[in-house]
């Protein structure tokens, strides 16, 4: 499957939401922990060899579960048939908790749910649809099932 690699690599160079050197272990039997520079940018987790500028890979943080494995270790499990699990070893409990929080909140679907929640609530409180002024209230991606007035024609 083709993808816009150059553009993704460019994205990986942008200011990250969060970045750190973590111990990372892949999902395959026999994978060992390797030190990687891990960067969270939008809903992608890029990982680099610690001495390289180009990322080795990018994990899309959608349809996954983030779990605390241990005091300083969290995992990301992708919910496809294979249920691939990636482990990340942090340097402290605090760092581990912060990463879990950041990864969960990075998901596009998570943010979309928040948007819909705020939209509904603001409408309930003010009678107005806050998305109207952006000109995006009709976009299917922001729709709520109920509770909003019909869009203006």
């Amino acid at each position: 499957m083709r993808f816009n690699e150059k553009e993704l690599v460019f994205l990986s160079r942008q200011p990250p939401e969060r970045a750190a050197e973590l111990g990372m272990r892949g999902p395959k039997k026999g994978d060992v922990v390797k030190r990687r520079l891990v960067k969270l940018i939008v809903n992608f987790l890029f990982y680099f060899r610690t001495d390289e500028d180009e990322p080795i890979g990018a994990l899309l943080l959608e349809q996954c579960r983030v779990e605390r494995e241990d005091d300083q270790v969290f995992s990301i499990v992708f919910l496809d048939e294979a249920e691939r699990k990636y482990l990340f070893e942090c340097d402290s409990q605090e760092q581990c908790v912060e990463w879990i929080d950041a990864v969960v909140k990075a998901s596009y679907e998570f943010m979309r749910k928040n948007l819909i929640y705020y939209r509904t609530e603001i409408h309930r409180l003010t009678g107005k649809d806050p998305l109207e002024q952006y000109g995006i209230s009709d976009e299917t991606r922001f729709q709520v099932n109920s509770g909003l007035p019909p869009p203006p024609t």
Binding site: N4, L60, R84, N114, Q133
Partner: protein, 300 residues
């Protein structure tokens, strides 16, 4: 530097470093039960060729997948929609539009729709598809939610008279979608006429450039105020006018990925207009008989 030749899930940069994208995660996201944001046939121009090939596109989140036909198991590719402008462009004929990735050596994807409606609909959907855009809106809504909760407590006991506009609508109203472009050249005001705002983009005729615009709302006045609301000119944050040649590469707006920084610049830039309006309004109001001293904007 490692090289792979067309192994699955690896990029195809000739002679370059290859990054693994974990294809199965993407395809699972695409095929899982959450609804897609848009799908349909579009024509996609080949990278090194001038032909357009018909492909079935599926937009979900900030990812644009494409395959030969709907229901095909084999996905041809995916475009991650971060860091691109969405523009109508007629150079290749009718109903074309582009995804312009701004940055050195980055690509422009040229697409075309079957008709005007489809073109506008796709441009609209792609325009607000990025994670960065969504995150900006969510942050703004979160703030407005907090304020609405507070206001609700106040409003129940206070009767407001003249002006109903809230600071939130105005101060937060300028939103250009992608926060990259602060450059004056990238935000093109439409011709001098004002338009009444609505959430639907204005209809375009064949002779005019097709555009998708975001627009700020008018300052709202209750009907008791005889002055008609000022109408804001539409601004096309993502359409470069077609009357001249496209700006040369060096003139493309600077891509800056810090949404907060860019947004605050935009906020300041458009805030000045509002400050001016407010000052004028106050001056005028003070001249009127029976004027109750009250600001145009309640900044709380």
């Amino acid at each position: 530097m490692r090289l792979f030749e067309n192994s699955p899930g690896h990029g195809c940069t000739p002679g370059g470093v290859v990054m693994k994208i974990h294809e199965k995660i993407l395809t699972h996201y695409l095929s899982c039960t959450s609804p897609v944001d848009k799908e349909g046939y579009l024509y996609k121009k080949r990278e090194r060729n001038t032909t357009y090939l018909r492909r079935w596109f599926v937009l979900k989140g900030n990812l644009l997948f494409y395959q030969e036909r709907p229901g095909d198991r084999n996905l041809l590719g995916v475009i991650v929609l971060e860091g691109c402008l969405v523009q109508a462009c007629e150079t290749d004929g009718q109903f074309c539009f582009s995804l312009v990735f701004t940055g050195p050596g980055l690509r422009t994807y040229r697409l075309a729709a079957d008709d005007h409606l489809s073109q506008e609909s796709w441009i609209g959907a792609l325009f607000c598809a990025s994670h960065i855009y969504l995150s900006m809106i969510v942050r703004d809504l979160e703030r407005r939610y907090e304020e609405a909760k507070k206001d609700k407590g106040l409003c129940d006991s206070i009767q407001t008279s003249a002006v109903t506009s809230s600071s939130n609508n105005i101060m937060a109203s300028w939103n250009s979608g992608q926060p990259y472009f602060v450059h004056g050249t990238s935000i093109v005001p439409r011709d001098g006429r004002s338009y009444s705002t609505s959430s639907v983009p204005p209809p375009s005729t064949q002779n005019r450039p097709i555009s998708y615009s975001l627009h700020a709302p008018p300052i709202q006045f209750k009907t008791t105020n005889k002055r008609s609301p000022k109408l804001w000119p539409k601004r096309n944050a993502h359409v470069i006018p077609l009357n001249g040649p496209a700006p040369s590469y060096g003139e493309w707006p600077v891509v800056n990925f810090d949404p907060l920084e860019e947004f605050s610049k935009l906020h300041e830039y458009y805030g000045n207009e509002i400050k001016q309006l407010r000052a004028e309004w106050l001056k005028k109001k003070r001249g009127e008989v029976g004027h109750v001293e009250e600001d145009l904007i309640d900044l709380g």
